[in-house]
Symmetry: C2
Subunit: 315 residues, 2 copies
Amino acid sequence: MSKPAGRTILASTIAKQYIDEITSQVKALDFKPKLVGFLANDDPAAQMYANWTGKTCESLGFTYDLITVDKNDLESALINANSNDEVNGIMVYFPVFGDNQDQYLQQLISPEKDVEGLNFLYYHNLYHNVRFLDPPTNEQKSILPCTPLAMVKILEYLGVYNKHLHYGNRLYGKKVLVVNRSEIVGRPLAALLANDGATVYSVDIHNIQQFTRGDDLLMQRHKVVDLDASEYSLEKITPQCDVIITGVPSDSYKFPSELVSNGAVVINFASAKNFNDDIKQKAGLYVPSIGKVTISMLLRNLLRLIDNKKIRTQS
Amino acid sequence: MSKPAGRTILASTIAKQYIDEITSQVKALDFKPKLVGFLANDDPAAQMYANWTGKTCESLGFTYDLITVDKNDLESALINANSNDEVNGIMVYFPVFGDNQDQYLQQLISPEKDVEGLNFLYYHNLYHNVRFLDPPTNEQKSILPCTPLAMVKILEYLGVYNKHLHYGNRLYGKKVLVVNRSEIVGRPLAALLANDGATVYSVDIHNIQQFTRGDDLLMQRHKVVDLDASEYSLEKITPQCDVIITGVPSDSYKFPSELVSNGAVVINFASAKNFNDDIKQKAGLYVPSIGKVTISMLLRNLLRLIDNKKIRTQS
């Protein structure tokens, strides 16, 4: 193979500016912010992720408490944490029950402590392009789900967002493929990018949907259409895309590199490796994983929750 | 018509950083650099352009002498200016004879004073991606023709060049249409962009050519192929292009806006207006004229010629 024309960009490089911002903002506080993580399963991967979260928090000046609880005690533990003034942020390592009860537990976390931005309130705001929690004052900024937010920051870093376009339209003209339509990441991500002006092709095992904001820039919400499978296949769409984003949680899945156009931006947010190494021969910029940016966004959200609380208690 | 999604960017905005750089570099010199322009025709447009060049030069701290000569005296006037140590840069307002004799006169200007970068030496270096005049020392930088260089600076400013890609490959994956294949601008521009990694479709009234660097990044020169007109028409190529550049010197010519893909970068370098206003409904970023960037590049070249002279006389 010849020398790749493109470059691999590591998440740690992209995260650096956010880590620096977070560190100085934490130093400026008159207390040490506390994040509490709840672990209620035996998954070694969750345990590892929890340990890594803890190390990152401590190194940046946060307090991190990992609380291991029985599944059946998680509900009351969350209620206690919601009302505990010393706790600034709460997260749960899912799956717990592995069914709809997990969603109930997730929504039980107070929006005021939801560092992951997974509360329906925040999703609603994301889908409707609502940026503040307190209209018309507009002082308290809404929280965005960590992974979609990390993706936006990565695309900004890589220059896919064009800063010369109007704010809120900086992806105008960009075609983005997102392979994943989960409620946690894929669907909100597609909406977020469409709200910023992109044409997004959202792929799951059933079909391909197109997310756009339509022609009306004043519309505060994206539009979704199911694409006709006979006309719009992955084979036809992929070569036209400026950005390919994958998040398929399977070690056996590999995205077909041969479909990717030379110079495309390629980002994988799954913990599994969704691309073979031959992608480096095609991609302009390749980001093989995004975890370090995601955790920066989680801690950024935590600081924003603290800001919002300050504004609420002052007014 | 609805509110345009994109933005119009003026050349004056893009030129500002170069104007600032030039101003401070001129201040740092221990003499006032002198540019001499020769006018040997009765074209009122050339006279206007000459006056404008003069005003710009004076306002930035240069001395500008406009010398009006008879066509038949231009040759000896250029020879005198070449050997005059007080003259740092020379330019001629063409056309003079309007035939091949103009090229002879152009090439008569010493490369050491050729602020427009039109000497064959500089074109050769551009076509072969040679960046220095004095290998292997590589201290004296080669000059680039003003208008193609201005276009590169504009594309850098607009974020079309991606700074995360390796230097010399920052247009990797970009498709660029250039409508103009003159020896002065269109062809060198296509080569320059191809040398930086783009796929360039170069259009003139006869055919469409594709300029690329090919797959081999080590190749120090672009590749040109004539495209088969039945397969590659303007109608088929334009919608795929990220950047549309026009330079058609005719008031009646208008590029078909309907072919331009939403969000494309659109730049006109002709003094004529090559786009109707409806382009603003399609373009992401639209630069309607580039003159102010071009003259900045001319003065930047003048400073570079002075630097090169200093290096030569020191060694």
